[in-house]
């Protein structure tokens, strides 16, 4: 069996074992855009593929390590390529694929049991960009995330994006020297000289401006975090010659990505399904829940793909759910229930899902990785 022809992740793994440079060979003579970061990879990649127009090669949801990239490049021969890349794999994939653009969305704690701690990751990214010999490489980076700025500081050509970044819980000490970072009115800096960049390519305050051009941002998907993702997607596409005015309407029309943010039906229940798998992601999704939605469902697993340690639940600002009733689902529903009890949030532990009450309006369902897949699989679009 040849790994090259199959276009699957398993095939990709075999292919890489036989030919370690397979990814580099497959990417040769194509225009490759990479997207990495803790949150928003899948959505931003989908925005970039959509905004670029038709005939884009992209990896399947979740297949964001080299075997998944090989599979994508075998399956489709289109020269325009958008790949979302697992944070830990980014240096290898940058070396192999010689991308035109790398988008760095954000960096925060996620799955600490299997991933590197987040500061080490930022240092590995920085090293990768400073070693890179590809002079045409452009890094599109979130200028409000100190860990991303530190990582991008290794690159020669950076397009800084001033986009909403509410979660800075992992960037209170300087990524360069560990001294305290002083934050003031959105700016930040350290006595060692490391500070927030000032020359922005893209700003998202009163509407979206990309390289001096005002763009009509009107997303179909919810949340300020998706606006940040869209701003960075449009900035990346501008680097490969797609005018923001062409990309933006296509991105505005995108209503859901791989089941995220979509309305689902399960028996008599209707829910809007969101993926939230770490403190920053949860904080972002929680901010979209309004007081009208009394019932909220939250599903937490701790399988390998989720990270086996759910201690991060204590970094999620669940206090914002006071006034709601939270139904605790998933294998680790008791960890969640304990967190909510100490947060003084009204909760129910759901041991039998058939007893979930049917609400009049669609409920918000927030689920981490494998719990999200479970609920996506057993429900239907509506």
């Amino acid at each position: 069996m040849s790994g090259r022809g199959s276009g699957t992740v398993a095939g990709g793994r075999v292919g890489l074992a036989l030919c370690p440079d397979l990814l580099g060979q497959l990417a040769k003579d194509r225009i490759v855009l990479l997207v990495s970061g803790t949150n928003g990879k899948t959505t931003t990649s989908a925005m970039m593929a959509t905004g670029w127009g038709s005939d884009v090669t992209a990896n399947a949801t979740g297949a964001n390590m080299a075997p998944g990239h090989v599979a994508a490049l075998v399956r489709s021969h289109h020269p325009r390529v958008v790949l979302e890349v697992d944070e830990a794999w980014l240096p290898d994939v940058v070396r192999s694929t010689r991308p035109a653009v790398v988008v760095l969305l954000n960096l925060s704690r996620d799955q600490l049991d299997r991933a590197s701690e987040v500061r080490q990751l930022a240092e590995r990214w920085r090293q990768c960009f400073s070693d890179d010999q590809n002079e045409s490489l452009v890094v599109v980076a979130n200028a409000n995330d100190p860990l991303v700025v530190f990582a991008a500081s290794g690159a020669q050509r950076v397009r800084w994006c001033d986009v909403p970044t509410p979660w800075l819980g992992d960037a209170t000490s300087c990524p360069r020297c560990t001294r305290p970072l002083a934050h003031e009115n959105g700016a930040w800096g350290c006595t060692c000289g490391f500070s927030r960049p000032s020359m922005m390519t893209t700003t998202l305050h009163h509407g979206l401006d990309v390289a001096g051009v005002h763009v009509d941002l009107a997303l179909s998907m919810p949340g300020a975090f998706n606006e940040a993702n869209a701003a960075m997607a449009v900035t990346a596409l501008a680097e490969v010659g797609i005018a923001p005015h062409d990309a933006m309407p296509r991105i505005n029309a995108l209503s859901g990505v791989a089941g995220r943010f979509t309305l689902r039906q399960w028996g008599d229940h209707r829910f809007r399904l969101s993926l939230a798998k770490n403190p920053a992601g949860f904080a972002a999704i929680l901010s979209t829940i309004d007081s009208d939605n009394v019932d909220v469902w939250v599903a937490i697993n701790a399988n390998i793909a989720d990270g086996r340690d759910p201690s991060w639940l204590y970094d999620v600002p669940f206090e914002s759910l006071r006034g709601h009733r939270v139904y605790c689902l998933g294998d680790r529903r008791l960890d969640l229930a304990t967190r909510l009890e100490y947060a003084n949030v009204d909760f129910r532990v759901v041991d039998d899902q058939s007893l979930l009450p049917v609400a009049d309006a669609p409920v918000a369902l927030l689920a981490n990785y494998t719990a999200f897949s479970d609920w996506l699989e057993k429900s239907a679009g509506c």
């Binding site: 600490l112 209170t172 086996r308 201690s311 204590y314 229930a337 304990t338």
Partner: protein
């Protein structure tokens, strides 16, 4: 008045360590005690407190936390009678020496006779420790190998996972509890939270039913442990 102080959560708060402070304060309040949770940020003076909490952190932040603690009033406040719960990096900092970033050795605060070297491999996974006849359950994620000397007693013996060295976990002195278990440890082990609380308050406590009791039983079961060891 119970004052719980989280020390430098920006540096030592990698594994949901805020949870230990929340649990202590909430379990005290629910029994009618007046309790407050203070979060001590970088650059702030260490305030008076009944118990200080030190959590887990990455290598660079761990060193910075050590420097800040050594320069401030932490040691004298502990000497004057404050209690400490130290988890993971916090456990290492209180000892004489710890190693991070390769094999560089750093001086700890020297409050206890413990020394941490770099382990051969990282210890990542479920941790279960037998503490005077009861199971303490949690999750560990660290690269240290800690050796206790003199008359420093371990917190307990390891049944699952690695802890200090594969045999023992943490240490216990009159006023300090230290463990490699996060989770956070006081959320997963309500009996241990109450033991810490009763010691700090100097009072026996009424039982307090909470969903954490179910969580504790479930975690013991998941690890194949009989909760009444």
């Amino acid at each position: 008045m119970l004052k719980v102080a989280l020390l430098y959560p920006e540096l030592l708060g990698t594994y949901g360590d805020f949870g230990n402070g929340l649990v202590l304060v909430e379990r005290a309040r629910r029994r009618g005690f007046d309790a407050s949770l203070l979060s001590v940020a970088l650059g702030e003076e260490i305030p008076d407190a009944s118990i200080y909490l030190l959590g887990g952190g990455e290598d660079g932040p761990q060193r910075l936390a050590r420097d800040l603690l050594a320069a401030g009033s932490f040691a004298s406040r502990v000497g004057d009678g404050a209690h400490v719960l130290a988890v993971c990096a916090g456990l290492q900092i209180l000892g004489r020496v710890f190693s991070v970033e390769g094999n560089d050795r750093y001086e700890g605060l020297g409050l206890v006779d413990a020394e941490t070297a770099r382990g051969e491999r990282r210890s990542v996974g479920e941790l279960a420790v037998l503490v005077r006849g009861r199971w303490l359950v949690g999750f560990e994620n660290h690269g240290g190998r800690t050796t206790l000397s003199g008359d420093l007693e371990a917190l307990g013996s390891v049944a699952r996972g690695r802890g200090n060295d594969g045999a023992l976990d943490g240490y216990r002195t009159q006023r300090v509890w230290a463990t490699y278990a996060h989770g956070p440890v006081l959320a997963m082990n309500p009996w241990f939270a109450d033991e810490v609380l009763a010691t700090v308050l100097g009072e026996e406590l009424e039982p307090l039913a909470s969903v954490a009791d179910r969580l504790y039983l479930e975690r013991c079961k998941a690890l194949g442990l009989n909760p009444v060891a």
